[in-house]
């Protein structure tokens, strides 16, 4: 997967195509067995749709006692020709309660409140991304101190902004320098069209993706820069009981 390209504007309302990338994963550890041989995780077939409780019950005339006796007498729950096989290439499909495959699905959006109570059920409508190579992330000019941000939000994701050529190096360096000198982070918001009007919106990086509050932090040294977009979808708040 190539690095993502996004459009971003600076405080002079100039925009440029730049790239974003996630932090590198820290070197962790590997698993071995007791003989120090490397092991890896594997997904294997345990049963199929013909071996679920519902399918087996149907096979035994809907009688739990018959099913129990069948389980004692034999192994109807084990597909001997399948069990232990690697899954290999596969697709995800939706199935009905009776195990039959759905060829045309209707998707609903169900909203529950903090107590778990369902409060809304409507047809699902795609929510478009607000960050990408077609929409420009505007400069909001709303700055905050780092202290304010870390006391209000949990930063759960971040991406580094990187240049693609000399021009975008200068462009990003200037943004980083501005934020570095002000010792602030700037709020980043996307733009979404609501009822035909363009309005500020949270950062959404792909269709139906999670929305984030974004805060851009800049640091510079003599010849280089670091611009990090910190992303949060969790406030440091008490849970209302």
């Amino acid at each position: 997967m190539a690095l993502r390209t996004i459009k971003i504007a600076d405080e002079k309302k100039r925009d440029a195509d730049i790239q974003i990338e996630p932090p590198k994963r820290k070197a962790s550890f590997n698993w071995t067995n007791q003989r120090n041989q490397p092991v890896h995780s594997e997904r294997l077939i345990k049963a199929t749709e013909e071996h679920t409780y519902a399918a087996l019950l149907k096979k035994f005339d809907g009688d739990d006692n018959k099913l129990a006796l069948g389980l004692v007498d034999g192994d109807p729950e084990v597909p001997f020709d399948m069990a232990g096989r690697r899954i290999g290439p596969s697709d995800r499909v939706w199935i009905r309660e009776d195990g039959s495959v759905l060829y045309c699905a209707r998707t609903l959006m169900v909203r529950t409140d903090a107590s778990g109570e369902e409060v809304e059920r409507t047809d699902f409508i795609d929510v478009e991304a607000t960050v990408g190579d077609e929409t420009i992330l505007p400069w909001t000019g709303r700055t905050f101190s780092r202290d304010e941000i870390v006391h209000k939000f949990a930063i759960i994701r971040k991406v580094r902004l990187r240049h693609v050529n000399g021009l975008t190096f200068d462009f990003l360096y200037e943004i980083a320098k501005t934020l570095h000198e002000e010792d602030k982070v700037v709020l980043m918001r996307g733009i979404a069209e609501v009822d035909g009007k363009k309005r500020p919106a949270p950062l959404i990086f792909q269709t139906n993706g999670s929305p984030y509050q974004g805060f851009l932090e800049g640091r510079v040294d003599e010849n280089g820069f670091l611009l990090v977009l910190h992303l949060s979808n969790l406030e440091l708040k008490k849970v209302q009981s």
């Binding site: 698993w31 679920t52 909203r111 780092r146 932090e217 910190h230």
Partner: protein, 203 residues
């Protein structure tokens, strides 16, 4: 009885009860539900590409095995570091006194990514630490919820809502310089938002 976070700052001990905060508890949840023609909810299953197996939830086993297809039970697994050394297990820090360091700058918190957030209930709070937290200072210590091979950092801070513990892992970036074009290796980097899914609750 639930165990506490116990910290020592300059020889003074404080302890906090903890309860995890997640998005569902704070904001509720929005989920996509797929229904059939009668409005009955459906479940997601796996269909092998050769069409020979339809696997409803619960039909798949996840096992650890070596290259000879021999299964290794979870309890027999050994963690090995990048140097080939067997990694030491780290005990849980809950209920154990750990040294608190700081105050640390907010930039130190921003160099990390939060893995979980706890609302803390002070059970015993040293006056010096309380005053520092109320003044907006941030402290850090090591944290391990349960015995394991990873050790995380816990940032301790306070805002108008209460005391919070942010469990985080280091995720720093290097500075970029003019001649650093994206390399092939970097071009293969994972998509940071590939597993993103709908959840609009905070907004």
């Amino acid at each position: 009885m639930a165990r506490s976070i116990v910290v020592n700052l300059g020889g003074k001990v404080s302890s906090f009860g903890l309860s995890k905060i997640d998005r569902e508890k704070l904001y509720g949840k929005r989920t996509r539900v797929v229904v059939d023609e009668n409005g009955n909810p459906c479940t997601m299953a796996t269909l092998t590409r050769d069409g020979t197996a339809l696997l409803p939830p619960g039909s798949v086993a996840m096992l650890y095995m070596n290259d000879d297809f021999e299964v290794c039970e979870r309890g027999d697994l050994q963690a090995v570091t990048a140097d080939g050394e067997i990694a030491d297990e780290v005990e849980s820090t809950l209920g154990a006194e750990v040294e608190l360091r700081g105050p640390v700058p907010a930039a130190r918190v921003l160099d990390h990514l939060a893995k979980s957030v706890y609302l803390l209930d002070p059970e015993e709070l040293d006056a010096t630490l309380q005053a520092a937290l109320e003044a907006g200072q941030i402290f850090e210590t090591r944290f391990n919820y349960r015995k394991g091979f990873d050790e995380n950092t816990l940032f301790l801070l306070k805002n108008e809502e209460g005391f919070f513990g942010i469990v985080a892992e280091l995720a720093e970036f290097d500075f970029l310089y003019r001649n650093q074009a994206p390399t092939l290796e970097e071009d293969d980097a994972e998509d940071p938002f590939a597993d993103d899914d709908l959840d609009f609750s905070m907004f």
